[in-house]
Amino acid sequence: MSLKIEISLVLNETKVEASVGVTESALELLRREFDLCGAKLACGEGECGACTIIVDGRSRNSCLTPAVDLDGRDVMTVEGLWTEKGVDAVQQAFINEGAVQCGYCTPGMIMQARYLLNRNPDISEAEIIRGLEGNVCRCTGYKKIIAAVKGASRIQEGSPG
């Protein structure tokens, strides 16, 4: 039948292997093979950011990323942020600040925010706003999301290591 390609990657800090179709997106792979439903299919054309994941340290729309492109990469999804050390500062800040309403955009927002903070822990409000431009939220009006990203940068500063 259709051509399959074997790939291996580090997914949420665990080495995994998968057999992927040539037309399969990273988003489809995460859901089909790994039962990771945090990244959402909301537009399928890279316009809304609900499927955002981090690949080799950069945020990507997983709906537009071919699954085969994950071969040899380091991939982080929202599920990987809650570890035995606790939930990520961004997740905690989204909860605390009221940044979650329907929550459908939340995993993508959190991953984009995590990427922005990894790149620049002292990020300014203007940079946060610009950095979230590709992520659509229909519920919150963005204010509490922006506040959460600011809050997360403060939580990070205060935390050891």
């Binding site: 939930v87 939340t106 659509v136 919150t140």
Partner: protein, 780 residues
């Protein structure tokens, strides 16, 4: 010395939403994520015509494809139709009436096989004459869309109060205006999705995004040939609704019919493009307004005629006049009013309900008109509005008792905090200056139901509550949590009555088999109605516990209270016993044993409108005022909204964080409506079905917000609270339109105020001024 616990309250505090931790860690499985064993996928074949006879449908190729389990057309479906007028067969057999129309559907092993099967279905049509404009559709000889309604009128409403004729004779000024509001759509982040599963006895479980879990049983049953009692509705978490899921749409019965045919669970999900093309829009309306006043600005009459483009079928859009009418007749004190609305069939897509209902449209028209009238009267926008503002206890022409409202307070708070009048006079004086960037400030206000809306015989909500031996509380509510935060507010009311921490309360809802009846999440009703029911059921449990505690402790029941998990003396807070201990004593009391299990059904003290549209249909009403300060680039036509001041009568703050979130999100919706969102319908077809071409607000476009909450302490509302979620979407757009006028002297009557539209209006105005100047020069 015994431990003492002070009395505290959780009402009005910042409370973490109960669903936030699971959503932030992706533990939440949305309906779109659900998978059932042996589940099949489904897709719908839609027409590419807007009005045509169906001559033949050939599904043989699709049926023969490997992996296809069922292909259905109209001949496979029961006769029952859906929609407000039951004019919409889920699958179309005779003809198509709009671009959404469903011709056939496929269930298969994968979505890819569904797509391949749809491509193999051949449909032959004979095109029919088309009509897209309301006035044309009403003219003689227009194409008939619905054979049962040859005049093309789907619904109409008429209301009259006082004497318009003599009021007009007594008026010093009469101002007329046309305001046409456009198509927009919800753009829920979670696209439409349904999952249906039949058992062998013909009972069906439907996993759905509905906002109307008990009425939907009745609404969908005929299209399934089922008894409403055999339809079980489960509402998993969803990615937004905003009114879009108040009606049944064809994909839901189609999904269920496929499940019945295949005897397997079937799931149907839209693509984003399909979501734009085939989900409801906000109702577009053409308003024609005439309104009169005395020299001093006192309103004398308001006469409004509306045409609604109904599209091919009738959903809730055609009923939005019931809400528009309230705005026209009751927003500001107007002694003589007339309102007429007609929803007219065309070959356009059709509208449903959408946050703010008909009030977004009506407030655009009325508040733009009010601003124009203020100018005619020679009053500033604040003075004119205060002169005509609603007052507490006012009985409106439709017999709404406005109760404890504070319209003037909303206007004054928004105006004072924004320094409105100084800025307004200053911007007005600078209008004529030859500068590219012009600053403006505008205000608008509105009135909305804030204590439910009795559009059915009951506007109630049921709640059941139980407590276990560890003082953990389970609340089973009829209310629908769709992300707006109702579970959290309900838990707060219960925590307040029972003196237990929030984390000890579990809210169960969203399954019609377990939850008691509720009329759904709409009309800004849930905090008020479900909140009252939750408060009442918790009060019953509290009284049962205190009665038992009194007999165990020999303290008078009246001097007992529940605080922080303890029974205490109300006067001094001295602890008598832990709450779980008294619950166990009640439980294991031998012959006198009792478990704390209570029920409540709350029916608000409101009444349905009579056939003349008279009735106090909500238990509470409230106002909001928005001020918008903007900067207009007169060259490019762009409007930058710098700051929005909102002053809203919320009755009482319940969850401060949740309240702010609703107001901020609601304003963001209204900003899109005002500035950028425009579903372009060209000859019945959707021309911009993607986020690339349909522009919702993103983070950089959100202005600074200044939110003021007026606490009028509603007499009936839970802890004094009112419903709040629609007003923020309703009020903002005309505030921006009025600010645009203040900045430039340009009035846009037809939103959205896009750069193209604004730049063109400014250029035309400049050209007209140049012409006038030229003529003057020639004469001079």
């Amino acid at each position: 010395m015994n431990k003492v616990i002070e009395k505290t309250t959780i009402i009005g505090k910042r409370v973490t939403k109960l669903d936030a931790p699971d959503k932030a860690t992706a533990r939440t499985r949305y309906i779109n994520d659900l998978v059932l064993p042996r589940m099949l996928y489904a897709k719908i074949l839609r027409t590419d015509r807007v009005h045509a006879k169906i001559l033949s449908i050939d599904t043989s190729g699709a049926r023969a494809l490997a992996g296809v389990h069922a292909v259905i057309t109209a001949s496979d479906a029961p006769d029952g139709k859906i929609g407000v007028l039951r004019d919409n067969p889920p699958l179309k057999g005779d003809k198509v009436r709009c671009i959404r129309d469903e011709i056939a559907a496929v269930a298969a092993d994968t979505e890819e096989i569904c797509d391949a099967a749809l491509r193999l279905i051949k449909v032959e049509y004979e095109d029919l004459p088309t009509v897209f404009d309301c006035t044309e559709a009403l003219s003689e000889g227009a194409p008939i869309i619905d054979e049962d309604r040859p005049d093309n009128i789907a619904m109409q409403q008429y209301f009259e109060h006082g004497d318009i004729g003599s009021a007009e004779d007594d008026s010093d000024f009469v101002v007329e205006g046309e305001y046409n509001v456009h198509y927009v759509t919800h753009c829920n982040m979670g696209v439409s999705c349904s999952l249906a599963d039949y058992d062998m006895d013909g009972r069906v479980t439907i996993y759905t995004q509905t906002q109307y879990p008990f009425n939907v049983k009745m609404d969908i049953a005929p299209s399934l040939g089922a008894h409403p009692g055999d339809v079980r509705i489960i509402q998993p978490p969803i990615g937004g609704a905003f009114g879009s899921k108040l009606d049944v749409y064809p994909y839901e019965p189609i999904c269920a019919i496929l499940a019945k045919k295949t005897r397997r669970p079937v799931k149907l999900i839209f693509s984003r493009e399909e979501e734009f093309v085939a989900s409801p829009t906000r109702q577009p309306v053409e308003f024609n307004i005439r309104a009169g006043m005395k020299k001093d600005g006192t309103l004398t009459f308001r006469d409004v005629d509306c045409l609604l483009n109904n599209g091919g079928y009738t959903s809730w859009g055609a009923t939005t006049p019931y809400v528009s009418m309230r705005t026209v007749t009751s927003h500001y004190t107007v002694p003589n009013v007339r309102y007429r609305a007609r929803a007219v069939y065309t070959n356009n897509p059709f509208a449903g309900s959408f946050r703010g209902y008909g009030n977004v449209q009506a407030t655009w028209a009325i508040e733009t008109h009010m601003d124009r009238m203020a100018e005619v009267a020679g009053l500033d926008p604040i003075a004119f509005r205060i002169k005509n503002a609603n007052y507490p206890g006012e009985i409106t022409p439709q017999a709404a008792n406005l109760g404890r409202v504070d319209h003037v307070g909303c206007i004054l708070q928004a105006a004072d905090k924004s320094d409105f009048l100084d800025k307004w006079h200053d911007c007005k004086a600078r209008q004529a200056e030859n500068t590219r960037y012009k600053r403006g400030i505008g205000i608008a206000t509105s009135l909305h139901n804030a204590g439910g809306a009795k559009i059915h015989k009951s506007d109630g909500c049921g709640t059941m509550l139980k407590m276990d031996d560890y003082a953990r509380v389970t609340v089973i509510t009829g209310a629908s949590e769709i992300g707006q935060g109702s579970d959290t507010v309900i838990a707060q009311f219960v925590a307040e009555e029972l003196g237990v921490p929030m984390r000890d309360i579990t809210i169960i809802n969203n399954d019609s088999a377990t939850s008691p009846w509720d009329v759904g999440v709409h009309a800004s009703r849930t905090t008020y109605i479900a909140g009252n029911s939750a408060k009442r059921v918790a009060r019953k449990a509290r009284e049962r516990i205190l009665r038992a505690a009194a007999s165990y402790s020999n303290v008078m029941m009246e001097n007992l209270d529940l605080r922080a998990g303890y029974v205490v003396q109300a006067d001094d807070g001295v602890v008598i016993m832990p709450l779980d201990k008294i619950l166990r004593q009640m439980h294991f009391a031998g012959e006198d044993a009792e478990l704390v299990m209570e029920t409540d059904y709350y029916e608000p003290p409101s009444e349905p409108e009579d056939e003349n549209h008279v009735g106090d249909m909500s238990a509470a009403y409230s106002h909001a005022a928005h001020v918008a300060e903007i900067v207009v680039d007169t060259k490019l036509g762009t409007i930058k909204v710098e700051k929005v001041w909102s002053a809203q009568d919320v009755g009482r703050v319940v969850n401060l964080t949740g309240l702010e979130g609703q107001i901020e999100g609601g304003i963001a919706f209204g900003l899109g409506y005002a500035l950028s969102e425009d579903l372009k319908i060209v000859e019945g077809k959707v021309a911009n079905p993607s986020f690339r071409d349909y522009h919702v607000m993103t983070a950089p476009q959100i202005p600074e917000f200044d939110l003021t909450f007026l606490e009028t302490d509603d007499g009936e509302g839970p802890a004094g609270a009112k419903g709040i979620a629609e007003l923020p979407t309703i009020v903002i757009a005309p505030a921006i339109g009025n600010a645009l006028y203040n900045a430039t002297g340009i009035r846009i009557h037809h939103p959205p105020m896009t750069p193209e539209k604004v730049a063109r209006a400014i250029a035309e105005s400049n050209a007209a001024q140049d012409n006038a100047k030229g003529r003057t020069d020639e004469r001079g």
